[in-house]
Assembly symmetry: C2
Homo-oligomer: 190 residues x 2
């Protein structure tokens, strides 16, 4: 998606350790006009999939998920991050490792809100190691809900997450696939 | 706002300790169609205020803020919650006490993203004690940005937050004002 890639090149910042900071338009300050265009593009890609629910995880995926849901005319469910173990039996839970924060957490959703008849589009702002997406896919599996695919704003395609998910047969559509950030120069696969 | 009040009555759940759970349509599963109507209503209320930025706090305010921002054609900035002290000097930070979780946390925004020329509409899903709103207002004060007002989905008007803010001269518009939840019966002020 050209306008996203242009924005990444002009406003993204590369830091040591392959860190790409896009907090001036995606995950702190949010360029809602750009995000709306991204939602439209996800609708074009998944138009035929009869999506009944969009699933994301707090916090930075929520805006993109809600705007995208307007085009699918469906609700958004966001998994909650919990640092302490939730003993409630009315939630599905999955363990996720965050490479960004160097910790593990539990992501939970209430069982009532995800059902076997749901066709789920998973939306997130970033895909790198795939930890968060795998957790969200696991929550869908626990609910016997069908995952029609994943819609990602920015995939770091030089990290293994996307490749591994596609190898497992999961449809992953990433609007910008960053293939390299060497010497601060951002290059794309798509 | 009648459709929100009807939704609260039909789908909200009252628990001991004046807890009102609306996670089936507002802050876990999100009824994006309803949230879009709420965004339109905030636009009607604050139409003349030349809003340049919408400010909220993660996580459950982000969806409402992004959908609302579409009507104002402006970006969203969300304050980040940090349990550890952030020593970075390029952020504004404020301490907030959470009565819901019984803890204190720091909310931060990058200085680059909020400026003295900004006219800020603060959006959040709930107003009870006013802790979060006061923190967001403090962040705006640190940036010398003007707060044109606050747009709240549900205010618990039997708790002091809204009254205290209005007494200080802050404009607060709440789409549903819950005045009582005694014996599980939800009543409204507006």
């Amino acid at each position: 998606m050209d306008i996203l890639k242009e924005k990444i090149v002009t406003d993204g910042k590369v830091y040591p350790g392959n860190v790409l900071k896009v907090n001036s338009f995606l995950n702190h300050l949010i360029d809602v006009k750009l995000v709306t265009e991204m939602g439209k593009e996800f609708k074009r890609l998944y138009n035929d999939c009869e999506v009944t629910k969009i699933l994301t995880i707090e916090a930075s995926g929520i805006g993109l998920a809600c705007v995208t849901a307007q085009f699918f005319d469906c609700p958004v469910l966001f998994a909650k991050k919990e640092s302490t173990s939730n003993l409630s039996s009315n939630v599905y839970r999955t363990g996720i490792h965050s490479y960004t924060h160097g910790n593990d957490y539990q992501a939970t959703i209430e069982k009532d809100f995800l059902k076997a008849e749901d066709k789920v589009l998973i939306i997130d702002d970033f895909l790198a190691s795939g930890e968060a997406l795998n957790g969200l896919i696991d929550l869908c599996a626990q609910a016997s809900a069908e995952v029609v695919g994943c819609g990602i704003a920015i995939e770091k395609s030089f990290q293994p997450g996307g490749k591994e998910l596609r190898a497992k047969g999961v449809r992953v559509e990433s609007l910008a696939m960053v293939s390299s950030m060497e010497n601060g120069k951002i290059e794309f696969d798509n």
